[in-house]
Amino acid sequence: MIKHITQNQKNYLTRFEFILQGIARPISKSFPFQNISKIMRENYAFEKARTIVPFFYYFMVIVALYRILDLSNIVNEGQRIFAPRWPIFWADYLHYLTVIDIVHVFFILATLTGAFFYRHRAGRFIVFLGILEYHALRNSFGVTYHNWDIWVWIALLFIFLPDAWGSAHKSPRKRKRFLLVFWGAQAFVLLMYSMSGMWKIIAAAGQYLNGEASAVSFDAFSLHISTQLNILPETMTSMLGPLIINYPLLGWLPLIAIIYLQSFSFFIAFRPSLHSIWALGLILFHVGAYLTIGAEFFQHIPFLLFLFLDSPFRDPRASWRQTIADLPIFGWILGYLPKRNITNAV
Amino acid sequence: MPYNALKIFLLSFFIVYFFAGFYVSKTIRGEKYLIFPAFLFTQVPPQIGTEYTVRILEYGGKELDHPILFPDAYKLYFDNSIALPHYNSVIRRIGMNIWQGQSGEIGQYIEALERSFLSKPVVYEIVRVKFDTIEYWRTGKTIEEKSIATFNTEDAGL
């Protein structure tokens, strides 16, 4: 009987792997993904990635502590509607205020556990639970906040880090897997930006063809800003918003640059030389978005800093020339030029 | 800087900061900009505490039936875009200075406080409240509320 079950499980596993292969192989062999393995060869990248991960967990403790200061705001929100999301299904059986206390205190304790035991999968799993519960609570008031999504997903991805912490566990395969999960977190962050950029391009094409104002119109950015500012109360404005509304041309290039930056983000996952520049660009984008349309998405910034600013995959010896050659579009154009030069010289 | 010099420099910095901190803690304000003795909650508060507060007698030209104390008046009569702790420190400073007979130094604080009234004229008192800490926590009862000064926003300065 026992044998039978294990046999069955095995079948399942092989079938699962078979299906997986069928879907994943073509993708992972196709254009950008084949580069992943190339990126993560160096031992030095592994050492660096290993020093970054704990700081993610330390940071979570601080986030959790600061979240509890926001508790009274959450209590106020609950006066409207409280509809628990599935991760806090148990909330139905308890008093509303008790639920809030439990989620917050658990969040802090979970992250504190994570800070100490991030080397153990169980520790990382508890952190994930903590953030998931908090995220669910935050989203249980009828409105969906996506600001915290990234925390949940990265915490989930990091659960899969292999145990490669001690100096004894440095088999090349574990090292590679470790880097792969780390890369997965990076790629995920970049994917979010790419998706955002993609919609903008699609919408721009549609609006342009319809003859409406579109992202390429000169007044596009000032239309965005004025529409946002019209909704705000009179006393509130943004620092740079009025300037761009008055001189719409100032906003044209930044908007195009943002779309470029966002759309090609995912591509950057395969271009380590550009990691730190992209992080800088995206941070400036967040700051700029806040100073103009007043949209604040600062929860993403720690990830840009931790994962990309000093990216483990970035070769410290990489030259400026190579970095520029890696740039999407510009690099491709430049790629043709030297060749022609050479042929000219010959 | 060579290693040893660096070490001596750091240690002497610590020593200087340490003694500067203790020195500063003895001054009246208990601190100086950039130097902080980190004396937080060093003294166990006495059972009979004293605080200073503001009591509003007339507001917007109308005499109030029941004069109200600052904590209750904060939301109604003051510009509450300014955070509570700011008010507390200003009121405490006014109270302590009057109590110690140094009324000359409170001009700017009084001015700041009066600027924050939502409507004028206002007649208010600075009150020194004496209370038993435990009793006050449980029931909100005070031992003594003593008015130490009365101000009218219409009076020109002090």
Binding site: N139, W153, W183, F188, W199, K200, A203, L223 | -
Partner: protein, 167 residues
Amino acid sequence: MSLSHSLPKKLIVLFLVFYFVVGVYAHFYIINQEEVYLLYSWDLYTKVPPRIQTEFTILIHEFEGKRLENPIIFERARGVLYSSLTEYRHSTYNKTNIQNIVRLLAPSIMHDKTKEIERLRMELEKTFLSHPVVYEVVEITFNPIERWKNGRFININSLGIFTSQVF
């Protein structure tokens, strides 16, 4: 052996693809409904707002018995409709609420649904700080830049004038 070696890679790639596909799906097929929890298409500020916009809103004509020279539009009615003393954060909630109500109220006036109007008016007037308020439900047409710069509207189409009462 070789399978388990590349399994994590495939899982991660699949995860990325999955997130993307669901995001795209959500973008096209789940409109105006509850979003998929934890998944998001990230279409933020995707469309450039049109140069000519129309919106339902309310104009305040009379407040606390005082007739206003120039009626105030709802967005600028901080301190009249909703308290200037409440924190901004809170007032935005009130505002979104009010905006949603107005968005439903205007069409029901246009279609003369008496019961619906009654219900929505009650919802709306509950949020006012004091009564009576004389207000007008309008449809405004405007250029956002012009509106922000000098508060000018292209067209204001009145749908109905009401006087609020305590329900």
